[in-house]
Symmetry: C2
């Protein structure tokens, strides 16, 4: 039996429409900056996508750029400036930094005022999550939880296996899902490059979240029949096609529900960033 | 076959002796305060135990007490005062706060300068751990890792099931064990009160860490033959006897190695606190 396809594009559109409505009703104009360092075309494209989404939601975005070889001190000063700016409610730095940039991305992200850290990468944001008082959670893990919730897939009491422990996704998602809170409260196993046999864990999972960044690494034999499979991967194949971490064709024959790539988790990331910016502005 | 008994008392004594040696050699006198609010006899006893250990390690401790019904603002002022004091390298607040105290323990702990947060409960400390740059990790999880390491029990690539998600123990331990770092890098499943069948997870574990605070909750049928069982529980039975979370007699027949209660994890907590205070003083 073919799995139910979770339509991330439709759910993201719904989330974005709701945010636009709330912003319009609030009389507030949330403002944000996605600081672009250098001119990598892919990074430019991501920044443009977020700015367009902000515009559509009735938010203001500010164009801030620094040259690729800018030193750390200048970046920190720029961020401190934005921390003080009352028109800017949310600040993120487009990552990865270009190769020419000598700055430590950890220090850069740590310089953002936790009250404006809409990317949730600041150690204070991650700590508030770990102590069960989340303020800003990175957009992709938030998107995964929102996708499940809006697809009426319960998480509480279920066994979730998260593959990948990145700061942006796997780590905060594993913490978020296991918080003692309604709609969360899952039992989570966090697998990663140090895990001997990932399939041994995923075969027992009610929900699998693939976030390893490795095309085709979740195969049908790793999935329990009826399990929910959330694919966070976006891997460019040599031919140019984008695929996830999951062998979609085979796994969708076994899973109960599955997200496609593209059109699954991807669109949720921008939508949940808008949720975070609205939150930062008190909307 | 009976399990190897891991002697936490001996290992803790070794750690404490090493710290005393390092302190003596450094010419620095690490100083710390365990702020006592109210006069609960058990809390007094814990504070006294830590102060005694500090003294034995060549450290200075300072007696700071506040009445049980002290308001939050006064506690925060007291902490800010200690944050500024160059003789005090480490600050902790004896928890739980007494019932009469109206302060929010989260705000109290968050007021401690992260550079002096030797209990590791500050959200910044927990966040630095979550982003893989731990500074101060709570003493009990540190003690569990130290016990395993000094008992030559490898953690890397093994499946660890942690039972309990407290801020002081289960949550930071689950993060610590799964960091990408030599000697850690385990695959961790975090079980808790929301887990449907804890035994289903523990039966597959190479290492079980019981930190639920529930006497006898880990039974022999939940343990894979040869597994390592670390018991963090300290439960007072009605008769006055202290037992762990593990049914020691039965489980020690099946496990490969096991910590007793008392004399296992308990002594490590004070030892690792001393490690943290020394670290705070730059020793």
């Amino acid at each position: 039996m073919a799995a139910r396809i979770i339509d991330g594009k439709a759910i993201a559109a719904q989330v974005r429409a709701e945010i636009a409505e709330r912003v319009a009703a609030s009389g507030i104009t949330p403002g944000f900056v996605d600081l672009l360092i250098g001119d990598d075309p892919a990074s430019e494209q991501y920044v443009g996508m977020k700015n367009k989404a902000a515009e559509a939601a009735g938010m203001a975005w500010f164009d801030r750029r620094l040259p690729a070889d800018v030193d750390e001190a200048t970046i920190l000063l720029t961020i401190r400036d934005m921390n003080q700016d009352p028109l800017i409610h949310g600040i993120l730095v487009q990552l990865p930094l270009p190769k020419e940039c000598p700055a430590d991305p950890f220090e850069v992200v740590a310089a953002i005022d936790p009250a404006k850290d809409v990317d949730g990468l600041n150690p204070m944001s991650q700590g508030l999550l770990a102590v069960g008082r989340p303020n800003f959670v990175p957009a992709t893990p938030l998107g995964v939880v929102e996708l499940l919730e809006r697809s009426q897939i319960p998480v509480e009491g279920r066994h979730v296996v998260v593959i990948g422990r990145s700061l942006l996704l796997g780590r905060p998602l594993s913490i978020l899902l296991s918080l003692k809170a309604p709609g969360l409260n899952a039992t989570v196993t966090l697998c990663h490059t140090g895990t001997k046999d990932i399939g041994e864990h995923t075969r027992r999972a009610d929900i699998i979240v693939a976030a390893a960044g490795s095309a085709g690494s979740v195969t049908a034999d790793m999935v329990k029949p009826g399990a929910v499979v959330i694919d966070c991967g976006t891997n460019k194949l040599p031919g140019g096609r984008t695929v996830g971490d999951v062998d979609f064709d085979a796994v969708s024959e076994i899973a109960g529900a599955i997200t496609p790539v593209p059109g699954g988790v991807g669109p949720m990331t921008v939508a949940m960033l808008m949720v975070n910016v609205a939150r930062a502005a008190g909307v």
